[in-house]
């Protein structure tokens, strides 16, 4: 930590001294790097962390620039707009306008799946660009000139050297806010987006909202950059807000290292310097003028995607390895989070009645019924393809049943979202492990406690939620210790063997403080001793009043542990009862071993 601090301190000092010694040319270059990095930072959050690719950020820069340009140069404004006819009013109007446009575009395009989203951003990126160029009051393709300089009290920022400080203070503040956000409950929710909506929603994360939040933040950073640009240049035209510049912003983020906040700065610096250099070199080389640097950018980008998809930042930090942050266990001594009241043993928790799920002509679940009470372990077994995972999805709200009903704690929950059901106290693990492999075990588990915190994005950005965050992490650490992962807290989840990753999933489910736990093949890939301690843990949980629904193929594990067993085949319940009864049921034996024709 201290070495990183040192490097940061030296870099900041150099940055602060820059304008006193550097010639004009470098100041201008650094100003542009700062402006571009601000946009690229938004893309790090949106694309690198959240997994949403946007080629359209330049349009938001344009909104910020044109809003202030139009307001500060207008001659005949209606009276109600008059108070906004200055740079600060321009900033406010720009931010509001951008938020509004981003909200609208987000509502339309963020629900686009997969590659439809980047295509959508290309579409509105082009539309907004042509809009800037064709609106009479924005000066058409000629643009708007005569934008007044920024003024602080009586001091006018006319000089690039003065503007330099403003740009870099804004950029560093944005970097600080973004890093704070990523290191928080809200930030974990955003990072969970890359793990897929299924897992995130099961942890109670509103993925639609999380996407909108990062889309808005990225748009507002871009708008801020545009506002600074307009008052630095004191002239705007549509060119810097076209799709090609939007593509360049994305390149900056990817080349710098899209998953790292400092990658934005690095990428912006590399592209800006390279652009400058190529713009000088190539026209001489080719004996013609034009934007030949795009050839270099395109090839560089392709090379990066072939060889180093993570970008330059991880490569750079390899030379400066950070001393790993390993909080002492004392750090987790925070006051425990409030726990859910445990229902008395024998209270019915889950009741599935005549649930049917059809996919086209296939009946995956055919009038399935079962119930789980508190303080009970119900095992659901059956051959592969029997419909166990489909039933899990019906219960947890991933898919609504075609007919029939699911009750949890006495309430109908079929048709409710998995988020709402998770909030009521149901938590689950996945058959195919769904962890965030790059995130530490501790943070993965803390994701499970998402619904037990309440502070949102603004508090996280300013780090005003540290007390709550401490309690969440302490809870995560407690659950890790409980399942025997105490020594792996700070390992990347993806570095653990598969069996251990399943245990991380259990810890994550427990961190939600559920009253009903759904485990999908938790013992697969575990060794004998690990299975034994898992069984011990489940017994403890049962003794504590938790209801557990268990899907498992390991018969010995199931028969030793379960209170009751339900057997499924071809979507139907073929047997139910005590483990001993089920084991001798002829239908079950036939399902597993095949009948005699």
């Amino acid at each position: 930590m201290s070495r990183q601090r040192l490097i940061l301190g030296v870099a900041l000092a150099l940055l602060a001294l820059g304008p006193l010694v550097l010639p004009e040319f470098y100041i201008t270059l650094l100003n542009y790097i700062g402006l571009y990095a601000l946009v690229a930072l938004g893309l790090v959050l949106l694309t690198g962390v959240g997994g949403l690719t946007s080629f359209g950020q330049a349009a938001f820069v344009g909104l910020g620039a044109y809003a202030t340009a139009a307001l500060t140069t207008a001659t005949a404004l209606p009276a109600w707009l008059a108070p906004l006819a200055n740079p600060w009013g321009g900033l406010l109007a720009g931010l509001l306008l951008t938020a509004l446009v981003a909200l609208l575009l987000g509502l339309l395009t963020l629900r686009l799946s997969g590659h439809y989203l980047p295509l959508g951003t290309i579409a509105w990126g082009i539309s907004l660009y042509f809009l800037f160029g064709n609106l009479e009051f924005l000066g058409g393709h000629t643009g708007i000139s005569g934008i007044p300089p920024l003024r602080f009290g009586g001091f006018e920022l006319r000089d690039g050297r003065h503007f330099y400080y403003l740009i870099w203070v804004v950029l560093l503040a944005a970097v600080w806010l973004t890093s704070n956000l990523l290191d928080s409950r809200a930030g974990r929710a955003i990072r969970a987006l890359k793990g897929g909506a299924l897992m995130a929603e099961a942890m109670g994360i509103d993925t639609g909202r999380a996407k909108m939040v990062i889309f808005l933040i990225a748009a507002l950073f871009a708008c801020l950059s545009g506002w600074l640009y307009a008052h630095l240049q004191r002239f705007v035209n549509p060119t810097p807000f076209g799709l090609h510049i939007g593509i360049e912003y994305l390149f900056m983020a990817v080349i710098g290292g899209a998953a790292h906040v400092w990658g934005a700065l690095l990428g912006a610096a590399v592209i800006t310097v390279l652009k400058q250099w190529l713009q000088d070199l190539l026209p001489q080389l080719f004996g013609a003028t034009g934007n030949f640097e795009v050839i270099g950018f395109g090839l560089l980008m392709i090379f990066m995607l072939h060889r180093a998809r993570e970008g330059l930042w991880p490569w750079l930090t390899r030379w400066f390895p950070a001393s790993a942050r390993r909080p002492a266990s004392a750090e987790f001594a925070a006051e425990p989070l409030p726990a859910r009241a445990v229902p008395p043993a024998g209270t019915p928790l889950l009741e599935v009645k005549d649930a049917v799920k059809q996919f086209g002509g296939l009946v995956a679940n055919d009038r399935m019924s079962l119930g789980v009470a508190s303080g009970e372990i119900l095992a659901l077994i059956g051959p592969n393809g029997a419909g166990k995972s489909t039933l899990f999805n019906l219960i947890t709200g991933v898919d609504p049943p075609t007919s029939g009903e699911v009750r949890f704690l006495g309430e109908r929950v079929d048709g409710r979202s998995s988020r709402a059901i998770a909030r009521m106290g149901m938590s689950r693990t996945f058959q195919h492990v769904r962890l965030l492999p790059g995130m530490s075990v501790l943070e993965n588990v803390a994701l499970g406690a998402h619904l037990r915190g309440r502070h949102g994005v603004p508090a996280a950005m300013l780090h005003l939620e540290r007390a709550e965050e401490g309690r969440l992490l302490a809870e995560a650490a407690r659950q890790c210790a409980r399942v025997g992962l105490g020594e792996h807290l700070h390992d990347a989840a993806g570095s653990l063997p598969l069996g251990k990753q399943r245990i991380v999933e259990i810890a994550r489910a427990l961190a939600a403080d559920p009253c009903l736990l759904l485990l999908d093949e938790p013992a697969a890939g575990l060794r004998f001793l690990e299975k034994r301690s898992l069984a011990e843990l489940l017994r403890q949980l049962r003794a504590g009043g938790m209801g557990i629904l268990l899907v498992e193929h390991d018969m010995e594990f199931v028969m030793d542990l379960a209170d009751r067993v339900v057997v499924m085949e071809f979507g139907k319940k073929i047997a139910a009862g005590l483990p001993r009864e089920v084991q001798s049921d002829p239908a079950v034996i036939e399902a597993y071993l095949g009948g005699v024709d």
Binding site: F55, H115, N134, F297, L305, R309, H432
Partner: protein, 344 residues
């Protein structure tokens, strides 16, 4: 607006729509077989048209040098493996990547294509531009062929950028037109139909039929369809996905270049014109969900008509209207396709 104008706009729209339909088909094809969203499709439009312009002006087009350089690069990369696989492989590779470009170059420089008949010039332009498709597939896409659609999309955008820059280098910033294939014009019920329009519509229709026959009847066409439906399954049946990729890019490049050549007498083509033309084909392709050929073609035709009518009512906002159209279409597509989360 009277009927006369409406018919005129309609004709304009259908002509452009036919081109967009061709491009939409190529885009659907490329996406289905390789999962690449082929943004650089438009560059082939510009390259095709401007290569023809260069040939007609008596210059050696820059695309010729590009083909030579890419051929040398492919030969250098694939040479060692081909060497190990036997003399025939190596001879085939060197013949395609070194000898062929060399022969074409000799033809361009030595045989004065300036004085050739138009159709021969068109053919020469095609044999220069079309090989770029498989060459680019080999060099740019094949190394990342198994990456996610998103990575392939960013690669496409990067390649588009590089090709636009090269287009500027090869052909300069000025726009050009070529002389029409046919000066004929016909009067049909008070409406003048130019011979060139008929060329465009006729050639598009012919090409669409040819593609249909290729995919329905030929073994290679069936192999491509198999790859589109299931890559792993096709590979298990002995279909090389690499070959399928190259073949697809060959078709896409041919369709792109031919589209450019067809519209060059109607529209002024600049080095960067292809992008917007390609994107409009794209809007059509997306209407078809990047999966259905007939719907994509119909969508493209609709885009052509929408564009020509909006250029009458609000010419400045023509592009705004066309590209805003894509968003509701995307939303509708996204909502109607059940999205299955990729298993990690």
């Amino acid at each position: 607006m009277d009927l006369q104008i409406a018919l005129l706009l309609g004709q304009d729209g259908v002509v452009n729509g036919a081109i967009y339909a061709l491009l939409a088909l190529a885009l659907v094809l490329v996406f289905a077989v390789t999962r690449v969203i082929f943004i650089p499709q438009g560059e082939f439009v510009a390259y095709g048209a401007l290569t023809l312009v260069s040939l007609q002006a008596g210059h050696a087009p820059g695309t010729l040098w590009l083909m030579l350089v890419l051929g040398a690069a492919v030969a250098a990369i694939d040479g060692p493996a081909a060497w190990r696989q036997g003399r025939r492989r190596l001879a085939g590779l060197l013949g395609r990547q070194l000898l062929y470009p060399f022969v074409i170059a000799a033809l361009v420089l030595g045989a004065a294509p300036r004085d050739w008949p138009v159709l021969l010039q068109v053919a020469l332009a095609l044999v220069i531009v079309v090989p770029l498709g498989p060459q680019l597939y080999r060099l740019i896409y094949q190394p990342v062929a198994e990456a996610s659609v998103l990575v392939l999309l960013i690669v496409s955008v990067a390649l588009h950028l590089a090709l636009v820059g090269l287009g500027l280098l090869f052909f300069g910033a000025e726009g050009s037109r070529t002389p029409a294939f046919s000066e004929a014009s016909f009067e049909v019920g008070g409406l003048t139909v130019s011979g060139q329009s008929l060329w465009v519509i006729g050639a598009s229709a012919l090409l669409i039929v040819a593609l249909y026959v290729f995919f329905e009847k030929s073994l290679y066409g069936k192999a491509l369809r198999a790859t589109a439906i299931n890559r792993a399954g096709a590979r298990l049946m002995g279909i090389s996905t690499t070959l399928a990729g190259k073949l697809t890019f060959l078709l896409a490049a041919a369709i792109g270049a031919l589209s450019g050549i067809l519209i060059a007498p109607i529209t002024t083509i600049y080095y960067d014109t292809g992008f917007l033309v390609g994107l409009k084909g794209f809007v059509g392709a997306i209407v078809g969900g990047l999966a259905s050929y007939p719907v994509a073609a119909a969508g493209a035709l609709l885009v052509g008509l929408l564009e020509s009518f909006s250029s009458f009512w609000a010419s400045a906002f023509k592009e705004v209207i066309v590209f805003t159209l894509i968003i509701p279409v995307l939303v509708w597509r996204s909502l109607t396709t059940r999205y299955v989360e990729e298993e990690e």
